[in-house]
Symmetry: C2
């Protein structure tokens, strides 16, 4: 038998990172046994199992990710796919922290996969799937008919979407109830006697655009207020555009006396536009805005705000993907978070 001495037949010696082989040598067992003992396989004796696990803990054994990944295809990676131009700053930061919170005591790593305006949003997803770079994917900016969700569903790769789809396909998601948000906002404005309302919408094409618009429309007719169309901007537009167009709008005779804004950054611009037009917040017009951190009341106390928790969204999305990976039913991994009340400034 050709038993050549190779570089590392000695083992368990130096500073090298311990492997299964190291553990096998130390325990006097075979590599296979050690491997199985560590994952509580049933055909390993109870004492052996305990012994192996003890030694493993003692010497700080950590499975080699490359080894596992090569052999099993499991990457232990979750990828968060982000648009580098249009995501909100607070969204990026909070959602990342939400995700990391959940995966902190799992073997998972979080990788951030960006794509830019010019690219097809499907590109990064295709890349991830084709190269098998992740066990699960989280996407945002979800559309009613979302090619990315369809693609991943076809390939059978677990994912969760921030925002719902509307394709008759079931998959995990987390969403903020923007229908309820818009409704609450309208009610709050109506309660202040405002009845000519304008809406700064989410990006056209995304699912939550629809929910917001529908919530707005339904509540309008319920409280008997009317809409002042303001279709020239969405929260994807630049600060300058929103500001300018708001100013234009507010200089018209048929200007709104109430505005609802779907994002804090847009609200800054909206207020600037209002003031550019020589009007005063709280007197001439009231504004209800979503925000994801407590800044708007510092900005203008007259603002009415509704909070959306992106860190929660990140956690929920991570939980959903991990759940799917673990074999749970996709349909059971959907969550909707209710908006806070409409809050006005409190001293």
């Amino acid at each position: 038998m050709d038993r050549r001495i190779t570089k590392k037949d000695d083992d368990a010696s130096g500073k090298e990172r311990p492997t299964l082989k190291t553990l096998a040598f130390m325990t006097g067992l075979g590599v296979t046994t050690v491997s199985r003992a560590l994952k509580d396989a049933p055909e390993i004796g109870a004492e052996t199992r305990r012994r192996v696990q003890l030694v493993a803990k003692q010497i700080g054994y950590r499975p080699n990710r490359a080894g596992v990944r090569l052999r099993t295809g499991k990457t232990n990676v979750i990828s968060l796919v982000l648009n580098t131009e249009h995501e909100l700053m607070s969204f990026v930061s909070d959602i990342i922290y939400g995700v990391t919170e959940v995966i902190a005591d799992t073997p998972y790593h979080l990788i951030v996969t960006p794509y830019s305006r010019s690219q097809d949003p499907l590109d990064p997803v295709r890349y991830l799937v084709e190269t098998g770079s992740a066990d699960g994917v989280i996407i945002s900016r979800t559309q009613p008919n979302d090619p990315r969700a369809r693609y991943m569903l076809e390939r059978g790769i677990p994912f969760a979407t921030h925002g719902r789809t509307d394709m008759g396909l079931v998959h995990p998601y987390h969403d903020f109830d923007n229908y309820a948000f818009a409704g609450e906002a309208v009610s709050a404005l109506a309660a202040k006697g405002r009845n000519r309302l304008a809406l700064v919408t989410p990006p056209v094409g995304l699912t939550y655009f629809r929910y917001t618009v529908n919530g707005f429309a339904d509540a309008l007719s319920e409280v008997g207020a009317s809409e002042v169309p303001f279709n020239t901007v969405s929260i994807d537009h630049t600060i300058e555009q929103i500001r300018m167009r708001t100013a234009q709008l507010m200089r018209r005779d048929d200007r709104p006396d109430g505005i609802i804004s779907s994002a804090a950054a847009a609200t800054l611009a909206v207020v600037a536009g209002i003031e550019d037009a020589g009007l005063k917040l709280g007197r001439d017009v009231d504004v209800v805005s979503k925000q994801s951190s407590e800044v708007l009341h510092l900005f203008r106390r007259e603002l009415l705000v509704v909070n959306e928790d992106f860190r929660l969204a990140g956690s929920e999305l991570a939980r959903a993907v991990l759940g799917w990976i673990a074999g749970k039913e996709p349909g059971s991994l959907q969550s909707l978070s209710k908006p806070s009340e409409v809050l006005s400034y409190r001293g």
Copy 2:
């Protein structure tokens, strides 16, 4: 010779992801040759090389990351280590985009490694190094004597710091010139006739705290202004704390007539505090603030701002780490970015 038929001696057939073996079969060459041809090794014939590369491109060959990593130890991963409590929102989002911009056309992936208040900041770094999870690391919240930098230097793992150290050790960094920022800010306030100045500092303990404080002090004596101590807050404090203590400060007889703030979020609180005390920005007091996105002038036009570009920081840091990995001299991978002028509101 024992040549058993194994599962996949046929090849180049179906939908499977192509490997070197696939390429070898298609080109009629050995796996070794293909491997070397793809990385332009000199001992491969020019035509063979071209042929292999052509076929590889045609069928969309991508090296298997796990294979490479297992064999070579190269992970093709850069890790960004972030504090989940104290990083600024804009920092997280912009720096991530800056990094991804640079690594976009490299094989590198970006993983985000978080740590929380309770943890030793060294923990995540130790984890990364011990498990060999990244080829390069980017850290923020750098301290003059930074254990993380020292640790990584000892282990020989490439890294870059956002902010400088002061340990007599040389390593790549990117920093914003906060000494210059504080100096410019003082000058701008002095030019407005302000001469009793307070400073909302960076977090005590971080290197850029020192630069900021020194720039502030030096400029004060240069313009002949005096400092109103305001050591009870830093930008790490909560909005509420900063607001309350600013209000307290501004109610004192010896209140400052100029304030310099090291971060936009803190500035919102500072202004709120000023107004809580019944004072008016621009009349009773002027404020100069750093910001990383154009929001402060929407907030209060009277604010004076200096811009810091975190996306640039991300790019520079990524370039620095990649440079070090590629073998460049650490000392040549240091950059300092100059602050913009102090900008006042323009229409």
